[in-house]
């Protein structure tokens, strides 16, 4: 919503916005309570969801957390927690664009530099599965697209 507001304010400079251009604002208001609810749920369940994801990934392929002889599970937990919180904010104010511009575009290159794209791909795949178990379908339908965007950006699927 923030980036949509910024874009709107630039595009309608000196004139008025049409109803079509204003539609996203009404849409946001309609979805707000669900977003707030989901945001607070994510905050509550954060450690559980990340722990569950970690366990699933470990059982799937423990080498996902290895680079040579180094185990970067702790780094993974920190990075995933950080990204998860960004995702939560993006969900609250409906702003995947800002999530992309301020985190994902940069973070993807760093993960690429360390060869961690596959781990990221799996992480955000599994996180979506795990989230669906603990959130209601309407709540999950808000989070999962943003998690999928994160997976595609960080997992090296799209540029």
């Amino acid at each position: 919503m923030l980036s949509q507001l910024k874009r709107l304010s630039l595009e309608v400079d000196g004139r008025y916005a049409s109803d079509a251009e204003l539609q996203f604002m009404s849409d946001y208001v309609k979805s707000f309570n669900l977003r707030l609810q989901t945001y607070q749920k994510l905050q509550e369940l954060e450690s559980k969801l990340i722990e569950q994801t970690y366990t699933k990934m470990r059982s799937l392929d423990p080498t996902l957390f290895m680079q040579g002889k180094d185990d970067f599970s702790n780094k993974w937990k920190m990075d995933t927690t950080r990204t998860f919180r960004y995702v939560a904010i993006a969900l609250l104010i409906n702003d995947p664009d800002t999530l992309r511009e301020r985190l994902l575009l940069w973070f993807q290159t760093i993960l690429h530099a360390f060869g961690m794209e596959r781990a990221a791909d799996v992480t955000y795949q599994i996180l979506q599965e795990v989230v669906k178990q603990d959130l209601t379908p309407p709540q999950a339908s808000l989070v999962c697209p943003i998690l999928e965007l994160t997976r595609r950006s960080l997992g090296g699927v799209s540029a």
Binding site: D13, I89, R102
Partner: protein, 164 residues
């Protein structure tokens, strides 16, 4: 949105929002329907309002050259639009940085204060009639902008001086 909401992503990775911050977001979200309604009303009545104001002004000041009146009316039109957007987005920087910053010096240069003062009186009066209760969101911003451009305070329709 509230400036604090603008900063919402600054520390996004380290924490969740505090209750007060969530409240700010909720406040803005709940104010959006009223803001949208006011904005649409303003947009839809602008032509009639400005036309009336222009006609009045011309009738009252026949001695002023048309180009001079046109400049003031054009500025007032821009002011109205910037104030509308400022109100919609709840972002004062829009009217300040994109309008007042550059119009302020021109008012002095072209010496249009007297015309502008009367123009704003007419404008505010007509807007009050057109928008009624919806003026509550627009008024403070509009008066702030008008007062920034005039040396004396602008009075609202019922004669009470409102500054910012």
């Amino acid at each position: 949105m509230h400036p604090q909401i603008e900063e919402i992503f600054d520390d996004a990775g380290s924490r969740y929002l505090k209750i007060e911050e969530l409240r700010l977001v909720a406040q803005y979200a709940s104010s959006v329907p009223d803001r949208l309604a006011t904005y649409r009303s303003l947009r839809d009545c602008e032509l009639d309002v400005m036309q009336w104001v222009a006609d009045q002004l011309q009738a009252e000041m026949p001695q002023e050259p048309e180009a001079t009146l046109e400049r003031s009316i054009t500025n007032a039109l821009l002011m109205l639009r910037h104030c509308g957007l400022t109100m919609l987005l709840n972002q004062d920087s829009i009217v300040k940085e994109r309008f007042l910053n550059w119009v302020q010096p021109t008012v002095e240069v072209y010496n249009t204060q007297a015309i502008d003062a009367r123009l704003y009186q007419l404008l505010n009066q007509r807007l009050d009639e057109a928008l009624g209760k919806q003026m509550i969101l627009l008024s403070p911003i509009l008066l702030m902008a008008q007062n920034a451009l005039l040396p004396q305070k602008v009075e609202s329709v019922n004669g009470v001086a409102i500054g910012w």
